[in-house]
Subunit: 466 residues, 2 copies
């Protein structure tokens, strides 16, 4: 059945590419109100497309102050079949700095088998693959192997501020057995790789004060605390010289790196020398773990910004009274964002000497790490497809970064996710000259039908707690 | 003889005040080319005044690219009498932020016995006292007790960039036995206080690099060095938790704080609790020394600015590859600025782990600490005047800050300096609503004639190495 669908997709390939290029031409930059017209254009294009391919209930879902999401459903597979939410997003990052682009960011240009344009890789390419897969099933077979709910977000690139409210307002409409994401993943390429999770995140900003005002470093130097010295001492207590986090209680609940996890991490080999070489850096980090383990299975505390005193041209002989730092923590499964935040805060308070006042600015929320369970049907289905298509057991990997949508859908809708996007990490998403490989488009138009068909072999009951 | 001069000055007090107000009205901001007219006006006023009071050789001294100094001499005391350079400056700090002034900064306004205006305290008030003292001697006595060279700088507030060249070009003209400065000092007020020196200064800026580019803290966190963590670790090695400098070799040559120096420092009592209270801070610093000793007799290493990573609104999940710090060191007698700089540089290099690259941006120069020797005739003369006028032995103190001109004249012209200005530390020099006390004007018009007369009792030979 899926081979007929794949044949249809290959026949339609030029039309599909043309639709992808049309979608890319809408400059749908969600962070900048100047691009409201581009956002609207992309939405209307997608609404029209979802209607044209035969989805039901096609409409915009909105929450106050947010960017509407595009929704459409097809429930003809019946209640015994799983209902799969297909996730993508139509908004893109800003294209700045424009002068670094070799061709205009919103005029997609094909060179050397690549589509160069903002949003091509992140994530209009994979979103198009997902929609066209559903379209082909409906056109060729008159139906999909599973029930489908297409959910195309409009504010992924700005941190999904209104998504929680939108989900709460549409709980029934969005109900599904699992989520298949066109964003994230790395399904493209020769080696079979299954991306089964990501680290979580929490953040903490604080200011440190040693006096009520800055003072002249000549007049007071030697007798008045310098906020920058104190900030340095405090930040230096967070790690040992090998970068191990030294914060008591920070790892509470964290899943230990078992032999099984070590084997999982080793399933996708990493050339560590080449990894460091790409950053012009030397090896670093806890020697008890490999680089893959350090960046996916171990939690971190990172200072993203630190500043205080005079930072302009030349010099100023000031003893600063105030210093600032922005921190984020990457969390592994089992860690609670609020508890991790609290542990770091308590550590800083414990290590701040008398005479050093700390003022914390929490940023709300935080996201737990996400893992797709080893026995989840989506994982079995994806593994089966990859095994057949690419040969060999798929390597299992996780993102070191955070995809909040996975955790959000799990926590709010009880729905697990598989990231099955076709973007590759080298495609300069978020940077000038973003591109998407035409070969990945072709590969996606084969892998997605196979995956939907594979899931279609399962029953809805397979996805529900026994 | 000096009493007749003082009487004359008191009689002329209204005219003197009027001349001071005229001088203040010229907005002579040396750092801003928009005030060139104000600089020119102040210079011409001073040139005219020096000519009017009978000085010889009145002219501008200039060096390429700099602000001219105003010069005038009177050498009628004869070769057996000392030749004293009288130093002042006619340039002022910018008046910004203007909105915080209660009256316009360049329209001097007298309220509650104070002249409110930019430059009133720093240092047109004391400069006027010095000039008018010479004027009164010439008018009443037909001559001064000593030979006089008046040198009024035009770029003190911008760090005297062309002064070394100006000195080298005018070595013979500027030759004198000693320098009496209207800038610095603190001669005003009830207690007799002699300011006999200041700390020196050296500076060092450096950047720290851990990778060739910033990276995504999710992707690399745990395995890539974070430049901010490394900066914090490095800065934290500079001091112990009590603020003691931990840099090997930094104190090379530094004069130890002997019992004699401790007694000197104790001669001007300091209410330490009140001192910390003014900064809203708690006690800090090497407990082996008093606050006065820490801030005048002990060297420091201070971080004046430190920054890196993302410092804007909100957050950015970056692992920064680069961090920066600006340092200054305050030096005590015996320390060499270049050696102190080199010691700090070597310390940082020694403590930077492999994989952390440091790039130093030296700022040129540096200034040694300055001390007016205990047996210097200027010190004896000033002490005698203060003893007679205020009663009791003068307390001896030093500035914690740096007055580069004292060191520069000593190193380049072999000339020692006494700072005998009438400004008080609470007069908001460099800040909005700068003021100068009318009582300090009156006091200066008595102390300066007495001091010149006292020096006039000495012979030129007293000032020359035996």
């Amino acid at each position: 059945m899926s081979e007929r669908v794949i044949t249809r997709l290959l026949e339609q390939r030029e039309a599909i590419l043309e639709r992808l290029l049309t979608l890319i031409r809408f400059p749908s930059v969600s962070t900048d109100a100047a691009f409201a017209e581009g956002m609207r254009g992309a939405r209307e294009f997608l609404l029209a497309r979802l209607r044209a391919i035969g989805l039901e209930d096609v409409r915009l879902l909105d929450a106050p102050g947010g960017q509407p999401a595009v929704f459409g459903a097809w429930t003809g597979a019946g209640p015994d079949k799983p209902t799969i939410m297909i996730y993508g997003h139509y908004d893109v990052q800003p294209a700045d700095p424009l002068e670094l682009w070799h061709s205009p960011p919103f005029e997609p240009t094909i060179r050397d088998g690549r589509i160069y344009a903002r949003g091509a890789s992140d994530v209009k390419g994979s979103t198009t693959i997902a929609i066209e897969t559903v379209a082909a099933f409906l056109a060729v077979e008159g139906g999909c192997p599973v029930n489908v709910k297409v959910f195309l977000e409009g504010e992924e690139e700005v941190g999904s501020p209104s998504l929680p409210a939108l989900i709460e307002a549409n709980r029934d409409l969005l109900a599904a057995d699992a989520m298949l994401s066109a964003d994230g993943g790395g399904a493209a390429g020769k080696a079979p790789v299954l991306n089964i999770g990501c680290r979580g995140i929490a953040s903490l900003q604080f200011s440190l004060r040693t006096a009520s005002k800055d003072a002249h470093s000549g007049k007071v130097g030697g007798a008045l605390r310098n906020a920058l010295h104190e900030m340095a001492r405090l930040i230096a207590t967070l790690h040992d010289e090998q970068g191990r986090v030294m914060v008591e209680g920070f790892e509470a609940g964290a899943t230990p790196v078992t032999n099984a996890l070590r084997m999982e991490a080793a399933s996708l080999p990493l050339d560590e020398a080449a990894w460091y070489a790409q950053f012009g850096a030397t090896p670093f980090g806890d020697p008890a773990y490999t680089v893959r383990e350090r960046t996916t299975l171990r939690p971190t505390v990172e200072v993203n910004g630190m500043w205080g005193g005079y930072t302009g041209e030349g010099g100023k002989t000031v003893t600063p009274a105030e210093a600032h730092a922005k921190l984020t923590m990457r969390l592994v499964p089992g860690q609670d964002p609020a508890a991790a935040q609290a542990a770091v805060k308590a550590h800083l308070e414990r290590h701040a000497p008398k005479g050093v006042a700390l003022d914390f600015q929490y940023r709300p929320g935080g996201t737990r790490a996400y893992t797709l369970g080893a026995d989840h049907p989506l994982r079995a289905a994806a593994a089966a497809v990859l095994r057949r298509e690419k040969g060999g057991e798929p390597a299992v990997t996780r993102l070191g970064g955070t995809v909040p949508i996975t955790t959000m859908f799990q926590e709010r809708l009880g729905m697990d996710s598989l990231m099955f996007g076709l973007a590759s990490p080298d495609e300069d998403a978020h940077a000038p000259n973003e591109f998407f490989r035409l070969s990945s488009l072709d590969e996606g138009l084969r892998l997605w039908p196979l995956l939907l068909a594979e899931i279609g072999r399962m029953r809805a009951a397979d996805f529900r707690p026994r």
